[in-house]
Symmetry: C2
Subunit: 225 residues, 2 copies
C-alpha cells in the first residue's frame, strides 16, 4: 500500500443505536457546514470512476475528501489519492456494509471543518448497505447498464431509500450487447421512489456527468450556506 | 406471479449450526445421488442467463431443477419455469444470503430423489453468500467482464472458496468499452485459489459454454455414480 493512503481497520459496534447516531452525525455535519454523501452500488458499477470524474470537476469549487470502504485491499483509495484528493481507506474485515461508528472512524482521520464535501464509497453490495443509515445528508446509488434493467424488482430497498440514482456506463447502450431499456428502468424506479433524481451518464467518457455535478454542487451549496 | 412458480417465504434459523447442517446435507445428497450446485455472483452478472444456457444443453442428460433466491420478486424463477425447468422461488425477505435451513425449505418442495442436478441461484451479492455453506457439492462464482478485473482484490473470500469461476460476458472484451485484462484477472484469482477451474464464456452468445457444460456434466456423473 502506498504511503499517501491512510489505512484503518474497523469493527462494527453492534451495541450502538445506529439510527440515533446517524441523526446526530447528520445534525453535527450540518452545523459544521460539511456535506457527507453516501455512494452505494454493486461491485464494479463504477463508484470510484464516478468519484474521479466528480472530484476532478469540482476541485476548484469545494474542498473534498473520500472515505473508501472495502472488505480488503486499498486499490480504490490509491486511485483517488493519486488524483490529489485525500482518501481514507476503511477495511471492514468481512463486514458487508458501513454503519455510523465506522464512518466516524473515517471522519476522525480527516480535518472535517476544512472540508466542504466528503464522499463515502460504501462496500459494493446492493443489499446490506441499504439497511444502515451512515449519517450522510445524501444517499446515492449507481446502477450500471450491464447489470440490467430488472434490478429495481430485485433490490427494492436500495432504490427506495436513495435520493439520486446514477445510471452509469450508458456507452454500453450503443452496443448490441445489452437489451437494457432506460425507459422501463425509470418506470420501475419511479414506482418505488417517485421523487428520485435520475442521472444517466458514462463515467468513462464523461457524457452526462455535467448534469450530475451541477445538481450535486447545488445540494452542497444549499447545505453549507 | 405465474402459477408455474412456487413461492416460499423463508426466515433464517439463526440458532442452527449451519456448518454441521451443511455437512449433513452434502452427505445425504451424495447418498441420494443428487448433485447440488451453489451459483453466486454480483447483481446482474448473468446467473439466470447461464442457468438457461446450461439447462437447455443438459436437459436430455439430467433431470434438473432450480432453487432461485431473491430478496423480492420472482422474475428469475419465471424465466426458468418458462423454459420448462422446475423452479422454486425463495424470497429471503431482506436476507442477504442463503443458509442451509433456507435451502432445505427449497428442497422440501422438490422431488429430490428423481433429480440428478439441482442449481441454487444465491442472492446477488459477493460478500455474505461467501460466508455461508449451503450444503452444495460445488460452489461456483460468476464474474462478468463489465465488473472489472480488480474484483479478486476486493472480495477475496468469494474467489477463495469457489471450485469454479465463470467469467461471463466475454463478448464485452471485443469492445473498446472495457480495459478488463483476462490474464491479469486469472493471475489474481490463482493467487487466492490455485486449483480453481476458470471458464470464460458468454451466456448471451453461447461462446465458451460447451467447456463449462462438459466439465459440469462430468462432475455430476462422478458424484451420482
Amino acid at each position: 500500500m502506498k504511503d499517501a493512503v491512510k489505512l484503518i481497520k474497523v469493527k462494527e459496534d453492534i451495541q450502538a443505536d445506529n439510527d440515533l447516531l446517524a441523526r446526530r452525525l447528520r445534525e453535527s455535519l450540518r452545523e459544521r457546514k460539511t456535506f457527507l454523501i453516501n455512494l452505494m452500488s454493486s461491485p464494479g458499477a463504477g463508484k470510484t470512476s464516478l468519484l474521479l470524474q466528480t472530484t476532478t470537476h469540482l476541485r476548484d469549487t469545494f474542498q473534498m475528501a473520500v472515505i473508501e470502504a472495502d472488505i480488503d485491499s486499498s486499490v480504490d483509495a490509491e486511485r483517488i489519492a493519486d488524483s490529489g484528493i485525500t482518501a481514507i481507506q476503511l477495511q471492514t474485515d468481512g463486514f458487508c456494509h458501513l454503519d455510523v461508528p465506522m464512518v466516524q472512524q473515517g471522519l476522525r482521520n480527516l480535518d472535517v471543518d476544512s472540508l466542504d464535501l466528503i464522499f463515502i464509497e460504501n462496500v459494493g453490495n446492493l443489499v446490506c448497505p441499504a439497511e444502515f443509515d451512515t449519517g450522510a445528508a445524501l444517499d446515492v446509488m449507481i446502477l450500471s447498464v450491464p447489470e440490467g434493467d430488472d434490478k429495481p424488482l430485485k433490490y427494492p430497498l436500495m432504490f427506495s431509500k436513495c435520493h439520486a440514482l446514477i445510471i452509469n456506463k450508458t456507452d454500453y447502450l450503443e452496443t448490441p450487447l445489452t437489451d437494457f431499456d432506460l425507459e422501463l428502468l425509470e418506470k420501475r424506479v419511479r414506482k418505488l421512489n417517485k421523487d428520485i433524481e435520475i442521472f444517466p451518464l458514462s463515467a468513462r467518457t464523461g457524457a452526462g456527468i455535467k448534469a450530475w455535478n451541477n445538481w450535486l454542487s447545488r445540494k452542497v451549496s444549499e447545505h453549507n450556506s
